[in-house]
């Protein structure tokens, strides 16, 4: 859990850091705390995993990853936890989760996000996943994204 100052720090930085030579000093001034405390608290949140990383968040489309497919798979419940990490470990998978099915219309329980320069490339990568799943693949689909409607990230 976090305290009120950490929460204020998250609110002050979730949109991004100020583009000034001393950004942590600028945030500290807004919060009414010492710059050293801002840096100390951000370091602590980075160490504890509250912050995944600090840096540039690119728009995937703008850096050439124009084909994005959410590949979804129907994998037997008894096999999924064994094979899921192997799908996640493929170098072209950026997110991989087990999620509940919504039967009857949604039989898929393994979600693996795949990026490529073309849809063909994404389909080829999906074939690699299919081969890895082998007999455990009872069905699959690829949901290509056709538009980013929003990408603001977390806002508390």
């Amino acid at each position: 859990m976090i305290d009120a100052i950490d929460r204020a720090l998250i609110v002050a930085t979730q949109d991004g850091l100020p583009l000034t030579p001393r950004p942590y000093h600028a945030v500290a001034e807004r919060l009414g705390v010492a710059p050293e405390e801002v840096m100390r608290r951000l370091t602590a949140m980075l160490d504890s995993g509250v912050i995944r990383r600090i840096g540039a968040v690119p728009n995937h489309y703008a850096i050439g990853w124009t084909a994005n497919g959410m590949t979804v798979w129907d994998v037997p419940d008894e096999a999924i936890d064994q094979i899921g990490p192997a799908v996640g470990a493929l170098d072209f998978v950026t997110h991989c989760y087990r999620r509940p099915r919504a039967l009857p219309e949604w039989p898929y329980n393994l979600f693996a996000m795949v990026h490529g320069g073309t849809r063909e490339e994404v389909r080829d990568k999906a074939k690699v996943i299919a081969a890895l799943l082998g007999e455990h693949c009872r069905g699959h689909d690829i949901l290509f994204s056709s538009r980013i409607l929003k990408k603001s990230g977390l806002r508390i």
Partner: protein, 152 residues
């Protein structure tokens, strides 16, 4: 798509994490990239204003502070798509929203400060749109790594 030169590419590839927690972090990061502080700041300003970067700063994992994420989907009638997108996007809890080619044609991530906030946000979306939200909370996370290099 905005043109990126070799320095932009290097900057994007090398600055997706590890931004220093020191008093003058842009100067320190610029030195690692072989740039001046002012040049780095100018490039970041341009990459943000042209939407090559959506953000520059900390990426928070809300579950570590007691919050919750979920992936949810809607089957939106085509003639109402824009209005529904506006209604969904209006909620601050909607962190990302993508149009996808499927009967479930709108997929969004909800991020809330408490687990109960997810159900409240879903109820609000259902009320605002009259559509049923399919909720796909994660049961297990096998892998997450959002860094992608600039394609050559």
């Amino acid at each position: 798509m905005p043109e990126l030169d070799a320095v932009d590419r290097r900057l994007i590839d090398q600055l997706q994490g590890g931004f220093p927690l020191v008093p003058e972090p842009y100067a320190a990061a610029a030195a690692r990239l072989g740039l001046g502080e002012t040049e780095l700041l100018e490039r970041l300003e341009r990459l943000l204003s042209t939407r090559v970067l959506t953000r520059f700063g900390p990426m928070y994992q809300i579950e570590r502070i007691g919050g919750a994420f979920t992936l949810a989907a809607l089957a939106v009638p085509e003639d109402r798509y824009e209005a529904v997108a506006a209604a969904v996007n209006a909620l601050p809890q909607v962190a990302h929203n993508y149009r996808r080619e499927h009967a479930l044609n709108m997929w969004f991530v909800l991020a809330t400060e408490t687990p109960a906030g997810i159900l409240e946000a879903i109820a609000r979306i259902e009320q605002a749109t009259g559509l049923k939200v399919r909720n796909f909370p994660k049961a297990r996370e096998y892998f997450v790594e959002m860094k992608l290099p600039v394609r050559p």
